[in-house]
Protein backbone atom coordinates (compact mmCIF):
# COMPACT_ATOMS: atom_id res chain seq x y z
CA UNK A 1 0.00 0.00 0.00
CA UNK A 2 2.34 2.73 -1.20
CA UNK A 3 -0.42 5.35 -1.31
CA UNK A 4 -1.49 7.44 1.62
CA UNK A 5 -4.42 9.80 2.06
CA UNK A 6 -3.00 11.99 4.80
CA UNK A 7 0.31 13.81 4.85
CA UNK A 8 1.00 12.51 8.32
CA UNK A 9 1.12 8.79 8.45
CA UNK A 10 -0.29 8.23 11.90
CA UNK A 11 2.01 5.58 13.21
CA UNK A 12 4.93 5.32 10.86
CA UNK A 13 7.11 3.51 13.35
CA UNK A 14 4.67 0.65 13.72
CA UNK A 15 4.07 0.57 9.97
CA UNK A 16 7.77 0.27 9.24
CA UNK A 17 8.17 -2.56 11.73
CA UNK A 18 5.19 -4.36 10.23
CA UNK A 19 6.63 -3.94 6.76
CA UNK A 20 9.99 -5.13 8.03
CA UNK A 21 8.44 -8.22 9.52
CA UNK A 22 6.67 -8.97 6.26
CA UNK A 23 9.84 -8.47 4.24
CA UNK A 24 11.86 -10.66 6.59
CA UNK A 25 9.25 -13.41 6.49
CA UNK A 26 9.92 -13.97 2.85
CA UNK A 27 13.46 -12.93 2.20
CA UNK A 28 15.22 -12.95 5.55
CA UNK A 29 17.49 -10.21 6.73
CA UNK A 30 18.69 -9.43 3.21
CA UNK A 31 15.20 -8.22 2.32
CA UNK A 32 15.07 -5.69 5.15
CA UNK A 33 16.40 -2.31 4.05
CA UNK A 34 15.39 1.14 5.15
CA UNK A 35 15.00 2.38 1.61
CA UNK A 36 12.81 -0.54 0.64
CA UNK A 37 10.62 -0.47 3.73
CA UNK A 38 10.05 3.26 3.38
CA UNK A 39 8.99 2.62 -0.19
CA UNK A 40 6.67 -0.18 0.87
CA UNK A 41 4.98 2.10 3.36
CA UNK A 42 4.80 4.95 0.85
CA UNK A 43 7.15 7.32 2.57
CA UNK A 44 10.54 8.83 1.79
CA UNK A 45 13.57 7.07 3.28
CA UNK A 46 14.48 10.04 5.41
CA UNK A 47 11.11 9.95 7.14
CA UNK A 48 12.15 6.70 8.75
CA UNK A 49 14.94 8.44 10.62
CA UNK A 50 12.47 10.42 12.64
CA UNK A 51 11.32 7.15 14.20
CA UNK A 52 14.53 5.16 14.09
CA UNK A 53 17.34 7.48 15.05
CA UNK A 54 19.59 4.45 15.19
CA UNK A 55 18.96 3.76 11.51
CA UNK A 56 18.64 0.31 10.03
CA UNK A 57 20.15 -1.38 13.08
CA UNK A 58 17.43 -0.17 15.36
CA UNK A 59 14.83 -1.26 12.84
CA UNK A 60 16.26 -4.75 12.60
CA UNK A 61 16.25 -5.08 16.36
CA UNK A 62 12.59 -4.05 16.41
CA UNK A 63 11.77 -6.64 13.77
CA UNK A 64 13.70 -9.24 15.74
CA UNK A 65 11.72 -8.31 18.85
CA UNK A 66 8.49 -9.13 17.06
CA UNK A 67 9.86 -12.51 16.05
CA UNK A 68 11.06 -13.28 19.54
CA UNK A 69 7.68 -12.40 20.92
CA UNK A 70 5.94 -14.61 18.36
CA UNK A 71 8.27 -17.47 19.14
CA UNK A 72 7.81 -17.08 22.87
CA UNK A 73 4.05 -16.97 22.45
CA UNK A 74 4.04 -20.15 20.40
CA UNK A 75 6.18 -21.95 22.95
CA UNK A 76 3.87 -20.85 25.76
CA UNK A 77 0.81 -21.96 23.83
CA UNK A 78 2.25 -25.38 23.02
CA UNK A 79 3.38 -25.86 26.61
CA UNK A 80 0.01 -24.87 28.00
CA UNK A 81 -1.65 -27.42 25.75
CA UNK A 82 0.02 -30.21 27.71
CA UNK A 83 -1.41 -31.49 31.02
CA UNK A 84 -0.07 -29.38 33.85
CA UNK A 85 1.51 -32.22 35.78
CA UNK A 86 3.29 -33.72 32.77
CA UNK A 87 6.60 -31.95 33.20
CA UNK A 88 8.47 -34.05 30.71
CA UNK A 89 5.73 -33.58 28.16
CA UNK A 90 5.80 -29.84 28.66
CA UNK A 91 9.54 -29.78 28.29
CA UNK A 92 9.30 -31.65 25.02
CA UNK A 93 6.50 -29.41 23.83
CA UNK A 94 8.65 -26.34 24.34
CA UNK A 95 11.42 -27.83 22.25
CA UNK A 96 9.09 -28.98 19.51
CA UNK A 97 7.48 -25.53 19.42
CA UNK A 98 10.87 -23.92 18.92
CA UNK A 99 11.56 -26.11 15.90
CA UNK A 100 8.04 -25.54 14.63
CA UNK A 101 8.47 -21.81 14.69
CA UNK A 102 11.79 -21.85 12.89
CA UNK A 103 10.38 -24.14 10.23
CA UNK A 104 7.43 -21.88 9.50
CA UNK A 105 9.20 -18.56 9.96
CA UNK A 106 12.83 -19.03 9.28
CA UNK A 107 13.20 -15.75 7.41
CA UNK A 108 12.22 -13.60 10.33
CA UNK A 109 13.85 -15.99 12.77
CA UNK A 110 17.17 -15.20 11.16
CA UNK A 111 16.68 -11.55 12.03
CA UNK A 112 15.72 -12.48 15.59
CA UNK A 113 18.96 -14.40 16.01
CA UNK A 114 21.27 -11.82 14.57
CA UNK A 115 19.76 -8.70 16.10
CA UNK A 116 19.06 -9.46 19.69
CA UNK A 117 19.57 -6.87 22.40
CA UNK A 118 17.77 -9.15 24.84
CA UNK A 119 15.75 -6.34 26.35
CA UNK A 120 12.37 -8.03 26.60
CA UNK A 121 12.36 -10.77 29.27
CA UNK A 122 8.90 -11.88 28.14
CA UNK A 123 10.28 -12.71 24.72
CA UNK A 124 13.23 -14.88 25.56
CA UNK A 125 12.94 -18.41 24.18
CA UNK A 126 15.99 -19.54 26.06
CA UNK A 127 14.47 -18.46 29.35
CA UNK A 128 11.35 -20.44 28.56
CA UNK A 129 13.42 -23.56 28.01
CA UNK A 130 15.31 -22.88 31.22
CA UNK A 131 11.98 -22.60 33.01
CA UNK A 132 10.97 -26.06 31.79
CA UNK A 133 14.25 -27.51 32.98
CA UNK A 134 13.84 -25.85 36.38
CA UNK A 135 10.41 -27.44 36.74
CA UNK A 136 11.92 -30.83 35.94
CA UNK A 137 14.62 -30.27 38.53
CA UNK A 138 12.13 -29.22 41.19
CA UNK A 139 10.13 -32.44 40.91
CA UNK A 140 13.29 -34.51 40.83
CA UNK A 141 13.11 -35.58 37.22
CA UNK A 142 16.55 -34.31 36.26
CA UNK A 143 19.26 -36.94 36.40
CA UNK A 144 21.81 -36.86 39.19
CA UNK A 145 24.81 -34.75 38.32
CA UNK A 146 23.03 -32.82 35.60
CA UNK A 147 23.15 -29.09 36.33
CA UNK A 148 20.21 -26.91 35.44
CA UNK A 149 22.20 -24.49 33.32
CA UNK A 150 24.02 -27.21 31.44
CA UNK A 151 20.74 -28.99 30.87
CA UNK A 152 19.09 -25.89 29.47
CA UNK A 153 21.99 -25.11 27.19
CA UNK A 154 22.15 -28.66 25.96
CA UNK A 155 18.44 -28.68 25.25
CA UNK A 156 18.65 -25.34 23.49
CA UNK A 157 21.62 -26.49 21.42
CA UNK A 158 19.87 -29.64 20.29
CA UNK A 159 16.72 -27.84 19.37
CA UNK A 160 18.38 -24.92 17.64
CA UNK A 161 20.75 -27.21 15.77
CA UNK A 162 17.82 -29.31 14.68
CA UNK A 163 16.04 -26.25 13.36
CA UNK A 164 19.11 -25.23 11.39
CA UNK A 165 19.54 -28.74 10.02
CA UNK A 166 15.98 -28.78 8.79
CA UNK A 167 15.89 -25.30 7.28
CA UNK A 168 19.31 -25.11 5.65
CA UNK A 169 21.23 -27.55 3.55
CA UNK A 170 19.99 -30.65 1.79
CA UNK A 171 17.32 -31.56 4.36
CA UNK A 172 15.23 -28.50 3.61
CA UNK A 173 12.74 -30.43 1.56
CA UNK A 174 12.40 -33.43 3.79
CA UNK A 175 8.80 -34.73 3.78
CA UNK A 176 6.91 -33.41 6.78
CA UNK A 177 6.33 -36.85 8.26
CA UNK A 178 9.99 -37.76 8.10
CA UNK A 179 10.83 -34.40 9.58
CA UNK A 180 8.49 -34.80 12.51
CA UNK A 181 9.84 -38.27 13.18
CA UNK A 182 13.32 -36.83 13.27
CA UNK A 183 12.31 -34.12 15.71
CA UNK A 184 10.72 -36.77 17.90
CA UNK A 185 13.80 -38.95 17.80
CA UNK A 186 16.00 -36.03 18.75
CA UNK A 187 13.72 -35.08 21.63
CA UNK A 188 13.71 -38.71 22.75
CA UNK A 189 17.46 -38.65 22.87
CA UNK A 190 17.63 -35.41 24.83
CA UNK A 191 14.97 -36.64 27.21
CA UNK A 192 16.82 -39.89 27.86
CA UNK A 193 20.01 -37.95 28.34
CA UNK A 194 18.62 -35.43 30.80
CA UNK A 195 15.73 -37.05 32.62
CA UNK A 196 15.47 -39.78 35.20
CA UNK A 197 14.13 -42.89 33.45
CA UNK A 198 10.92 -44.23 35.00
Amino acid sequence: MPARDRYHHGDLRAALVTAGVAAARDGGEAAVSLTRLAGAVGVSPSAAYRHFAGGIDELLVAVGDVARRELADLVRRRVDAVTEGDHVGRFRASGAAYVEYVLTEHGIFEVACRHDRGRDPEADPFALLQERIDRLAEVGLLRDGVGRDEAAMTAWSAVHGLAVLLTEGPLQRLPAARRDALVDAALDTVERGLCVQV
Copy 2:
Protein backbone atom coordinates in the same frame (compact mmCIF):
# COMPACT_ATOMS: atom_id res chain seq x y z
CA MET B 1 51.25 -8.13 -0.41
CA PRO B 2 49.67 -5.90 -3.09
CA ALA B 3 52.92 -5.65 -5.11
CA ARG B 4 53.97 -8.14 -7.72
CA ASP B 5 57.20 -8.52 -9.62
CA ARG B 6 55.87 -10.33 -12.64
CA TYR B 7 53.02 -9.33 -14.90
CA HIS B 8 51.61 -12.82 -14.70
CA HIS B 9 50.76 -13.84 -11.23
CA GLY B 10 51.52 -17.51 -11.46
CA ASP B 11 48.58 -18.99 -9.63
CA LEU B 12 46.01 -16.27 -9.19
CA ARG B 13 43.20 -18.67 -8.47
CA ALA B 14 44.96 -20.18 -5.49
CA ALA B 15 46.06 -16.74 -4.31
CA LEU B 16 42.49 -15.44 -4.39
CA VAL B 17 41.22 -18.42 -2.45
CA THR B 18 43.97 -17.99 0.13
CA ALA B 19 43.15 -14.30 0.46
CA GLY B 20 39.47 -15.19 0.73
CA VAL B 21 40.17 -17.65 3.50
CA ALA B 22 42.22 -15.05 5.37
CA ALA B 23 39.52 -12.42 4.96
CA ALA B 24 36.81 -14.81 6.11
CA ARG B 25 38.83 -15.88 9.14
CA ASP B 26 38.61 -12.43 10.57
CA GLY B 27 35.44 -10.91 9.22
CA GLY B 28 33.26 -13.77 8.07
CA GLU B 29 31.40 -13.79 4.80
CA ALA B 30 30.89 -10.03 4.84
CA ALA B 31 34.63 -9.55 4.45
CA VAL B 32 34.84 -11.65 1.30
CA SER B 33 34.37 -9.54 -1.82
CA LEU B 34 35.87 -9.95 -5.25
CA THR B 35 36.97 -6.33 -5.40
CA ARG B 36 38.65 -6.53 -2.03
CA LEU B 37 40.37 -9.84 -2.61
CA ALA B 38 41.70 -8.71 -5.98
CA GLY B 39 43.10 -5.65 -4.24
CA ALA B 40 44.67 -7.78 -1.51
CA VAL B 41 46.40 -9.92 -4.11
CA GLY B 42 47.46 -6.85 -6.10
CA VAL B 43 45.41 -7.48 -9.18
CA SER B 44 42.51 -5.74 -10.90
CA PRO B 45 39.03 -7.02 -10.11
CA SER B 46 38.43 -8.16 -13.64
CA ALA B 47 41.44 -10.46 -13.51
CA ALA B 48 39.56 -12.60 -11.02
CA TYR B 49 36.93 -13.44 -13.61
CA ARG B 50 39.45 -15.34 -15.68
CA HIS B 51 39.70 -17.83 -12.80
CA PHE B 52 36.21 -17.61 -11.38
CA ALA B 53 33.79 -17.43 -14.26
CA GLY B 54 31.00 -17.88 -11.74
CA GLY B 55 31.98 -14.67 -9.99
CA ILE B 56 31.85 -14.16 -6.26
CA ASP B 57 29.63 -17.18 -5.70
CA GLU B 58 32.18 -19.57 -7.09
CA LEU B 59 34.84 -17.92 -4.98
CA LEU B 60 32.80 -18.28 -1.80
CA VAL B 61 32.23 -21.94 -2.51
CA ALA B 62 35.98 -22.41 -2.97
CA VAL B 63 36.64 -20.68 0.35
CA GLY B 64 34.00 -22.83 1.99
CA ASP B 65 35.65 -25.93 0.56
CA VAL B 66 38.88 -25.04 2.29
CA ALA B 67 37.05 -24.63 5.58
CA ARG B 68 35.24 -27.94 5.18
CA ARG B 69 38.51 -29.67 4.47
CA GLU B 70 40.12 -28.09 7.53
CA LEU B 71 37.20 -29.08 9.69
CA ALA B 72 37.17 -32.64 8.38
CA ASP B 73 40.91 -32.91 8.94
CA LEU B 74 40.61 -31.73 12.52
CA VAL B 75 37.82 -34.20 13.22
CA ARG B 76 39.87 -37.03 11.76
CA ARG B 77 42.92 -36.05 13.78
CA ARG B 78 40.99 -35.87 17.05
CA VAL B 79 39.28 -39.17 16.36
CA ASP B 80 42.55 -40.89 15.53
CA ALA B 81 43.98 -39.67 18.82
CA VAL B 82 41.55 -41.91 20.68
CA THR B 83 42.22 -45.63 21.22
CA GLU B 84 40.92 -47.54 18.25
CA GLY B 85 38.56 -49.77 20.19
CA ASP B 86 36.98 -46.93 22.17
CA HIS B 87 34.04 -46.29 19.91
CA VAL B 88 32.17 -44.09 22.29
CA GLY B 89 35.30 -42.08 22.96
CA ARG B 90 35.88 -41.63 19.25
CA PHE B 91 32.31 -40.55 18.74
CA ARG B 92 32.66 -37.92 21.45
CA ALA B 93 35.98 -36.80 20.04
CA SER B 94 34.39 -36.13 16.66
CA GLY B 95 31.71 -33.96 18.27
CA ALA B 96 34.16 -32.09 20.44
CA ALA B 97 36.39 -31.46 17.42
CA TYR B 98 33.48 -29.95 15.52
CA VAL B 99 32.84 -27.48 18.32
CA GLU B 100 36.54 -26.80 18.65
CA TYR B 101 36.82 -25.87 15.00
CA VAL B 102 33.85 -23.54 15.05
CA LEU B 103 35.17 -21.84 18.16
CA THR B 104 38.56 -21.15 16.64
CA GLU B 105 37.41 -20.45 13.08
CA HIS B 106 33.88 -19.24 13.18
CA GLY B 107 34.42 -16.59 10.53
CA ILE B 108 35.38 -19.03 7.82
CA PHE B 109 32.98 -21.63 9.21
CA GLU B 110 30.13 -19.26 8.38
CA VAL B 111 31.18 -19.31 4.75
CA ALA B 112 31.42 -23.09 4.82
CA CYS B 113 27.85 -23.36 6.06
CA ARG B 114 26.32 -20.93 3.66
CA HIS B 115 28.14 -21.91 0.48
CA ASP B 116 28.16 -25.65 0.34
CA ARG B 117 27.78 -27.51 -2.93
CA GLY B 118 28.73 -30.71 -1.16
CA ARG B 119 31.04 -31.84 -3.95
CA ASP B 120 33.95 -33.13 -1.92
CA PRO B 121 33.05 -36.34 -0.03
CA GLU B 122 36.36 -36.19 1.83
CA ALA B 123 35.35 -32.87 3.34
CA ASP B 124 31.96 -33.63 4.76
CA PRO B 125 31.77 -33.23 8.54
CA PHE B 126 28.31 -34.71 8.66
CA ALA B 127 29.52 -37.87 6.95
CA LEU B 128 32.28 -38.19 9.51
CA LEU B 129 29.76 -38.05 12.33
CA GLN B 130 27.59 -40.57 10.54
CA GLU B 131 30.61 -42.84 10.27
CA ARG B 132 31.11 -42.71 14.05
CA ILE B 133 27.49 -43.58 14.61
CA ASP B 134 27.71 -46.47 12.17
CA ARG B 135 30.67 -47.83 14.08
CA LEU B 136 28.68 -47.62 17.30
CA ALA B 137 25.79 -49.44 15.68
CA GLU B 138 28.02 -52.18 14.32
CA VAL B 139 29.39 -53.09 17.73
CA GLY B 140 25.94 -52.93 19.27
CA LEU B 141 26.45 -49.79 21.31
CA LEU B 142 23.49 -47.92 19.87
CA ARG B 143 20.34 -48.17 21.94
CA ASP B 144 17.48 -50.32 20.73
CA GLY B 145 15.09 -48.42 18.54
CA VAL B 146 17.57 -45.69 17.69
CA GLY B 147 18.05 -45.47 13.94
CA ARG B 148 21.44 -44.63 12.51
CA ASP B 149 20.29 -41.65 10.50
CA GLU B 150 18.27 -40.18 13.34
CA ALA B 151 21.19 -40.69 15.67
CA ALA B 152 23.59 -38.92 13.33
CA MET B 153 21.24 -36.02 12.79
CA THR B 154 20.60 -35.68 16.49
CA ALA B 155 24.30 -35.70 17.23
CA TRP B 156 24.99 -33.19 14.50
CA SER B 157 22.20 -30.93 15.74
CA ALA B 158 23.47 -30.96 19.29
CA VAL B 159 27.00 -30.23 18.28
CA HIS B 160 26.17 -27.58 15.72
CA GLY B 161 23.72 -25.89 18.08
CA LEU B 162 26.33 -25.93 20.80
CA ALA B 163 28.82 -24.26 18.51
CA VAL B 164 26.32 -21.55 17.62
CA LEU B 165 25.42 -21.03 21.27
CA LEU B 166 29.07 -20.54 22.17
CA THR B 167 30.02 -18.28 19.28
CA GLU B 168 26.99 -16.04 19.02
CA GLY B 169 24.95 -14.28 21.65
CA PRO B 170 25.82 -13.59 25.26
CA LEU B 171 27.88 -16.74 25.83
CA GLN B 172 30.60 -15.71 23.41
CA ARG B 173 32.97 -14.69 26.16
CA LEU B 174 32.39 -17.60 28.49
CA PRO B 175 35.64 -18.60 30.22
CA ALA B 176 37.29 -21.48 28.42
CA ALA B 177 36.99 -23.85 31.38
CA ARG B 178 33.28 -23.22 31.76
CA ARG B 179 32.88 -23.64 28.03
CA ASP B 180 34.66 -26.97 27.95
CA ALA B 181 32.60 -28.19 30.88
CA LEU B 182 29.47 -27.27 28.98
CA VAL B 183 30.60 -29.13 25.88
CA ASP B 184 31.34 -32.14 28.05
CA ALA B 185 27.95 -32.01 29.70
CA ALA B 186 26.22 -31.78 26.33
CA LEU B 187 28.19 -34.72 24.97
CA ASP B 188 27.36 -36.68 28.14
CA THR B 189 23.71 -36.05 27.49
CA VAL B 190 23.87 -37.10 23.88
CA GLU B 191 25.88 -40.17 24.77
CA ARG B 192 23.37 -41.21 27.43
CA GLY B 193 20.56 -40.61 24.99
CA LEU B 194 22.06 -42.59 22.13
CA CYS B 195 24.28 -45.27 23.59
CA VAL B 196 23.63 -48.43 25.54
CA GLN B 197 24.60 -47.79 29.14
CA VAL B 198 27.24 -50.18 30.46
